[in-house]
């Protein structure tokens, strides 16, 4: 009935409908034929009843006519009126009986016979009526003659013949109907039998077909879901356009997607530079990527075969176990470090990130070999320690300088003074002049030491940041200088220098040294002009201090910032040669730059920049930078 292709073309609900619908149609057909048979049967019964009534009615008619005839014969003989009573009844009853009979046979074929019966019954009754009239009119003999001649008998015989014909016709009709009814019943039986059989066959067939279509394919789908879970290859697609087919296709799609995801994962797993692993709560690795073999030198078989804790450095085991426990309790491991043994017996530092999936009792972890970094760190620590110790040495050196260099100076000064006091009278002018030179030189050396110490201290102090107004500080310094040199005219042009973000006392030192420089290198006897200026310039501020002093040769523009670098001989200008070095150091520590422009006889400008946002440059960086620079300059 249904081809494989067609069957698959139907959805599950359509198939269900088929399973219910086809038998239902057969049942409806069966019911309809049963109903038709019932109707026919009812009709047959009604016809039979009617026929019986026809017979009864016919015989009653016959009885009425016979009674009327018999009564009339008695009247003829006796002339007693009571014998007329059957005749009178017949006259009354026969029309009624005839009409009943007609009603019964109205739809029948026997209309002809009925008309004949009616006519003959009426004729018989008319014969008796004539006889009665003859008798009553006194012509009894005529009546008797009529009877003796058998006229009445002939009429009655004719009536009987008609009645027999009617009955025979009815009989035939009954027989016909009986025949029809039997045929109908047998047809019905046949239909019932065939229909039921067909119905059962169809049901069985459908059930078989659909069961095959459902069960076999469903079990394939179930098998596929199991295989999917087990990461096994799936069965061939079950096909079909129904829901089972859809489900199977989805499962195949899912398997393909999973396989792709798995492939992606495997690819990443394989190409990763990190050490990736999946480990069980049982303490064994479940999956490792190839980096493990590279980093630790063991084959993966060796790594799988033993609990991972076996590979951990004995000193790190406790921490590792504790970390694994925390993981199992649901926390995440971030930047955990431990050491793993390499096949050669050495240890590798590993840095871990990990997370667990407690319901699956597994840990996902990624590790990086940080052995080299650890070595760098340790080297760096050593270097830092060395640096710190160097710094301490430097500090102790400056301490010695401050203490030990001063004492002899004081002694030189002191003993010179004692010599003057005790033996002054015995000395001539030249001897006293020589003593003065000794004293002034020892004083100068004291100043030198102080400056050097200040310079050294500068490196070790950290900066304290504040908003610094360079104009205000410069004005203070200028006022100080005016008090110090009352005989000099100092003109100060205070330009609008932007507020700086810097260490106030350090910047004061810078401005003090620059202004002191300007005063120091001014032209003798002339008014001293000093100008402070500044402007914002992007991420830093630019400042400058300009003078109209003796200036310098640009060839030495870089040299002037070196310690003890002086462009003028001691005889010309007094100074230690540290001031500008201090200026440079302070500006550099603020992350700024300093440079100078000048021309002999025309003055000098000292420029420096300060970043707008504070950055503190450490002494070490400056030292590194300086060594780099000097190498660059050759």
């Amino acid at each position: 009935m249904v081809g494989g292709k067609d069957r698959r073309g139907l959805s599950l609900s359509q198939k269900g409908l088929l399973l219910v619908g086809v038998p239902a149609i057969f049942q409806v057909l069966l019911l309809a034929s049963l109903f038709a048979f019932e109707r026919a049967h009812d009709r047959a019964r009604a016809a039979e009843l009617r026929r019986k009534e026809v017979v009864v009615s016919a015989y009653r008619l016959l009885a009425l006519l016979i009674d009327a005839e018999t009564g009339m014969r008695g009247y003829l003989i006796t002339q007693k009126p009571e014998f007329l009573e059957p005749y009178d009844r017949a006259v009354r009853e026969i029309p009624k009986e005839l009409s009943r009979l007609r009603a019964l046979t109205e739809s029948d074929r026997a209309v002809g016979e009925l008309d004949q019966i009616a006519a003959r019954a009426t004729a018989s009754l008319a014969f008796q009526t004539q006889n009665r009239q003859l008798i009553q009119s006194g012509a009894r003999a005529t009546a008797l003659d009529r009877v003796q001649r058998g006229i009445g008998k002939q009429i009655m015989d004719a009536f009987r013949t008609s009645m027999d014909q009617l009955l025979a016709a009815e009989q035939r009709a009954a027989a016909n109907e009986e025949q029809h009814s039997i045929q109908l019943r047998s047809r019905l039986n046949a239909a019932l039998g065939v229909g039921t059989a067909a119905n059962i066959a169809i049901c069985v067939g459908l059930i078989l077909l659909l069961t095959r279509s459902f069960t076999r394919r469903l079990s394939a789908v179930i098998e596929n879901t199991y295989r999917l879970q087990q990461h096994q290859a799936l069965l061939m697609p079950v096909g079909g356009e129904d829901e089972i087919g859809d489900l199977d296709r989805r499962i195949h799609d899912m398997a393909a997607a999973l396989e792709k995801a798995e492939n992606d994962l495997t690819r990443f797993f394989t190409i990763s530079l990190e050490m990736l692993c999946i480990a069980g709560f049982d303490g064994f690795f479940k999956r490792l990527n190839p980096v493990w073999e590279t980093v630790l030198g063991y084959s993966s078989q060796e790594l799988y075969s033993r609990p991972f804790i076996d590979f951990v450095h004995p000193d790190d085991r406790e921490a590792t176990v504790a970390e694994a426990k925390r993981l199992a309790e649901g926390s995440t491991t971030v930047r955990f470090e431990n050491r793993y043994r390499h096949a050669d017996g050495s240890y590798r530092w590993l840095l871990w990130n990990a997370a667990a999936l407690p319901e699956a009792k597994i840990i996902y972890a990624a590790a990086t070999d940080i052995t080299q970094r650890k070595q760098f760190e340790s080297t760096l620590q050593d270097q830092n320690a060395a640096l710190e110790s160097a710094n301490r040495e430097l500090e102790s050196f400056s301490y010695s300088v401050s203490h030990d260099l001063r004492a002899p100076l004081r002694a030189v000064d002191g003993y010179t003074r004692i010599l003057e006091e005790e033996y002054g009278a015995a000395l001539d002018d030249e001897a006293r002049r020589l003593l003065n030179v000794i004293r002034s030189e020892s004083r100068r050396m004291g100043v030198l030491i102080d400056d050097l110490l200040a310079f050294s201290r500068l490196s070790r102090q950290s900066l304290s940041w504040a908003e610094v107004d360079l104009g205000e500080i410069s004005s203070e310094i200028i006022a100080e200088k005016r008090r110090r040199y009352p005989d000099r005219t100092i003109e100060f042009a205070n330009g609008e220098a932007p507020i700086a973000r810097a260490d106030r006392s350090a910047i004061r030192q810078v401005l003090f040294n620059l202004i002191a420089n300007a005063v120091k290198y001014s032209k003798p006897q002339a008014p001293i002009h000093i100008e402070l200026g500044g402007r914002s310039s992007g991420d830093h501020n630019l400042y400058w201090v300009r003078d109209h002093g003796i200036g310098f040769d640009m060839r030495y523009a870089k040299k002037i910032f070196g310690v003890f670098q002086r462009l003028h001989s001691d005889g010309e200008i007094e100074g230690s040669g540290v001031g500008l070095a201090i200026v440079q150091r302070i500006i550099q520590r603020h992350g700024g730059r300093v440079w100078a422009e000048g021309e002999p006889g025309k003055g000098a400008v000292f420029f420096f920049t300060l970043p707008v946002t504070q950055i503190e440059i450490q002494e070490m960086e400056l030292i590194n930078e300086r060594s780099g620079n000097s190498a660059g300059r050759g």
């Binding site: 400056s398 301490y399 010695s400 401050s402 203490h403 030990d404 001063r406 004492a407 002899p408 100076l409 004081r410 002694a411 000064d413 002191g414 003993y415 010179t416 003074r417 004692i418 020892s442 004083r443 004291g446 110490l453 201290r457």
Partner: protein, 144 residues
Amino acid sequence: MNEVEILLVEDNPHDLELTLRALRKNHLANSITSVTDGEEALDFLFARGKYLGRDVSNGPRVVFLDLKLPKVDGIEVLRQVKADERTKKIPIVIVTSSAEERDRVESYQLGVNSYVVKPIEFDSFMKTITELGFYWMAVNKSAP
């Protein structure tokens, strides 16, 4: 034995000579004891070693203490004197060439009574020592 009025701890013989000269000139050095290292200073103050038998309670009225000393340095001497109940009331004046902030901070933390940087120039040096002697001998009232 007369009461020791000033204990001078100074390892530099020239500084010692200049200091004594300044104090004597102003008649402030009636009873000066001078030692040249930290260990001897502690021996004196706690009456031990070659000062065994000295009465500890008969302490100096003031100690002029240099910081950079052989054997035991000045900071250590200061620490021990100020840590001991018997000696903690003795005024200690650090007289040093060191203007180092670190030394100053540490000295004051240990309870120094005064911190003086030796001026480099002779005049200032003499003046400072004279004032110190005058202040601690004549002006200051020591603890009972």
